[in-house]
């Protein structure tokens, strides 16, 4: 509440003049400190890597269409599998959500820009060398990292993975981490200090709350990943032995540090999407969000407990039995705040006046799929069952229900919802719906059989498999191709609409008053510096 009053008078004058510089074209993009242009560049970068990661996934699924195929050599399979995970997590989902947050958050809180516009530009531009290093790692001698996105030592050590590919992978990821940390500082300061007068704590839109809490998680978690990556790098290049057992190090230490970051990373990837869902559902139900405070508390709760559960990725590692009890129970507890969200969303649309436009379809699809990922998540918290299916396709199924069914569906909901605002044009509704149905059905065809494959014992990350797993794999591959078609339709729809789409009005979704956040009060796209006069929130 205090912070709300801080936002007032001085920020309009205090914020550095940002926005469009004189001169247009390429220079405008290269030198901009405007949060909207930076946000758009983040999203282009994200979708670029989404395309590459997606093509890799299709190659992997092609190799797995039948046992014994030789579409990809074993080492190439391992490399593409590693980069698929790395790209989708660090170069698609996280940057894309940063871009969305960058574009939307300042407008929603009634600010002219982020708190540190130049730092914002630095955050984005760091991703360019970072992404280039990742891409370059594929073309150096020995190829890129092949140890999965998890890069467990000793497999990722210089002894078992010589060659500069892994070093480039580590450095690329390091830079991406730095970019994320700088961005997090910027977001936290922005939401804390730059809110329009009258926007007290309990008036912050749900998406901004979710981004704020997510960025707090990043501030705590990502430096730990940076530390672990540094240790891995010095082990490889300078002869240290943090993870070298022969010299007194311990590979299991890496697993602790890695998952201390990477479990919260799941929430980094899903909470902003949940925030977007919490705004989209009310809009297309013409009803107020149910249980706003409960949703804020549950988001914060997930963020906090998310730091206490990393051990559930290590139940087969051989950690102390007492720790397994703790991590098991803590992981089960996460289901409670997650449940609060699910019930609140259903209560939000209950009794509403539902319009099934594309963003709404994606939001509803998100709930339907995320529930499945949440339930299998509870099962995976149960140590004995987890040990049974750990590192099998069951986990692959679970994580894709959370990250594809969760994060990606939410990202699509958000993209369709804000596309008119960001581009100033409407997308094609019919193609949007086709995209949704192909994605929703294709997603289930791809990942549902993997539950079964895992339960009957098919390990993940294998380039070929025993004949008894053939049927499930063939179904999954067919589903993956369907997803390929769906994503092609999405890209065509977006590109065509950017070029020829109908002009978008200020508020194409006809928000009811309580749901109309500030971005729907300014033109589409919003003017430079967003607001002629800073709005006062009542």
């Amino acid at each position: 509440m205090e912070a709300g009053s801080l936002a007032g008078g001085h920020h309009g004058a205090g914020a550095p003049a940002s926005g469009v510089k004189p001169g247009g074209g390429l220079l405008k993009w290269l030198f901009t400190t405007d949060h909207k242009l930076i946000g758009v560049m983040y999203m282009w970068l994200g979708f670029f890597f989404f395309a590459i990661g997606g093509i890799f996934a299709l190659l992997l699924r092609t190799q797995l269409f039948a046992p014994g195929l030789q579409v990809l050599a074993p080492q190439v399979y391992n490399q593409l599998m590693s980069l698929h995970g790395t790209f989708m997590i660090f170069f698609f989902t996280i940057p894309l959500l940063s871009g969305l947050g960058n574009y939307i958050v300042p407008i929603q809180i009634g600010a002219r820009d982020m708190a540190f516009p130049r730092l914002n530009a630095v955050s984005f531009w760091l991703l360019i060398p970072s992404g280039l290093m990742m891409l370059a790692s594929m073309f150096v001698q020995g190829g890129t990292a092949a140890g999965g996105w998890t890069q467990y030592p000793p497999l990722s050590s210089v002894q078992y993975s010589p060659g500069p590919g892994v070093d480039l992978w580590i450095l690329g990821l390091h830079l991406a981490g730095l970019s994320t940390i700088l961005g997090a500082i910027n977001f936290v300061v922005t939401v804390t200090n730059l809110r329009a007068p009258g926007m007290t704590m309990w008036k912050i839109p749900m998406f901004c709350w979710a981004v704020f809490i997510t960025q707090c998680i990043i501030l705590v978690a990502t430096p730990v990943l940076a530390g672990a990556l540094t240790m891995l790098l010095t082990d490889r290049l300078f002869g240290t032995s943090f993870f070298v057992p022969a010299a007194g190090g311990d590979p299991v230490l890496w697993q602790h540090l890695f998952w201390f970051y990477s479990h919260p990373a799941v929430y980094i990837m899903v909470l902003p999407g949940m925030g977007a869902i919490s705004q989209i559902l009310p809009v297309f139900s013409s009803k107020r969000l149910f249980g706003y405070k409960g949703l804020v508390f549950s988001t914060a709760g997930i963020g906090l407990i998310g730091f206490l559960v990393w051990g559930h990725h290590m139940f087969a590692t051989g950690i102390d039995p007492r720790l397994r009890f703790f991590f098991s129970f803590a992981s089960m507890v996460i289901a409670v705040p997650t449940g609060v969200k699910i019930w609140s969303w259903i209560a939000t649309i209950w009794g509403g006046s539902i319009r099934l436009r594309t963003p709404m379809l994606y939001a509803l699809g998100f709930i339907a799929l995320f529930v499945i990922g949440g339930i299998t998540g509870v099962w995976l918290a149960l140590v004995p069952f987890d040990v049974q299916v750990h590192d099998t396709y069951f986990v692959v199924a679970h994580l894709h229900y959370v990250l594809f069914g969760g994060s990606l569906m939410a990202i699509f909901a958000a993209i369709y919802y804000w596309f008119p605002k960001i581009s100033g044009r409407m997308y094609h509704e019919g193609l949007g719906k086709v995209h949704f149905w192909l994605t929703f059905i294709g997603m289930n065809i791809t990942f549902m059989p993997m539950h079964w494959l895992g339960m009957v014992g098919m390990p993940r990350r294998i380039y070929t498999y025993q004949p008894q797993y053939t049927v499930g794999n063939q179904v999954a591959t067919v589903g993956a191709y369907m997803l390929g078609v769906a994503m092609t339709i999405f890209v065509l729809n977006m590109l065509f609409s950017l070029w020829k789409g109908r002009r978008a009005p200020v508020d194409p979704w006809e928000h009811i008053d309580v749901n109309r956040t500030l971005e729907w009060t300014v033109s589409s796209p919003p003017p430079a510096e967003n607001f002629a006069t800073i709005p006062i929130v009542r």
Partner: protein, 237 residues
């Protein structure tokens, strides 16, 4: 209106197919045929989890579907205006929390059971290599690699799992056993196989180029056969 009915039916059928596949998946896992006490316990725990969480699954997906079906925008029908209900929110926080506490009971019992290695009849050492398994029988001085592990039926076998190079994981699904083989550490697990036969498994931790080929075969034989076999092995056969 008609088009949206169609999409509803599509949602409903997609959900039904999904639930059906999930049920089929569960059924196959049940059929998977556990052969150790631990694996039986894991199956029981799994079904407990299915029953306890299944209710929430059906409730959530069902309510979602009903809401989409019932509350479509219609001209002249205004949306409801409620937006909080503390009692309802407390209920839907407390009930899942209670369910988790209940579920933790059988989880912890099973966990304790599988964690506690009982007094064993035989100890084997399992050592991962890129990309094969080495097996040692310290009581008999027998060491070999790249051959099936042979163990006696019905006897409690304690396994000390380790690795000489990268992390591997010794995984036989029907035993309910998966234990990482870490270099520089020894992990302990156990199994008591109820019947004779050949059981297949596979390395479950990415361990390099040929991880996908790192098979595990366990031959479970009668104790008498095991004695004959180990005597022969001792002679260096």
């Amino acid at each position: 209106m008609k088009r949206s009915r169609l999409s509803l039916r599509l949602i409903a059928s997609a959900l039904a197919v999904g639930a059906g596949l999930l049920a089929a998946a569960a059924a196959s896992a049940w059929i998977l045929d556990p052969v150790t006490p631990v694996a039986h316990e894991v199956r029981t725990l799994f079904w407990n989890a299915v029953w306890i969480t299944g209710g929430f699954f059906l409730l959530a997906e069902g309510l979602l579907l009903v809401a989409i079906l019932r509350f479509r925008a219609r001209p002249g029908v205004p949306a409801a205006s409620f937006h909080d209900n503390l009692r309802l929110e407390l209920v839907w926080t407390a009930i899942p929390a209670l369910a988790m506490v209940i579920l933790s009971g059988p989880t912890f019992t099973t966990l304790k059971y599988m964690e506690t290695v009982p007094k064993s009849d035989l100890t084997v050492e399992i050592i991962g290599h890129q990309w094969f398994w080495e097996y040692r029988y310290p009581a008999y001085g027998v060491v070999f690699a790249n051959e099936p592990l042979v163990i006696p039926q019905g006897k409690i076998v304690a396994a000390d799992v380790s690795s000489v190079d990268v992390v591997h994981s010794w995984f036989v699904a029907q035993f309910g056993v998966k234990m990482d083989a870490n270099p520089g550490r020894v992990n302990h697990t156990w199994f008591q196989v109820e019947r004779t036969g050949t059981f297949n498994g596979q390395c479950a931790e990415l361990c390099g180029v040929l991880h996908g080929d790192m098979a595990i075969v366990v031959n479970v034989v009668t104790p008498e056969e095991f004695e004959r076999w180990i005597e022969q092995k001792k002679k260096g056969a």
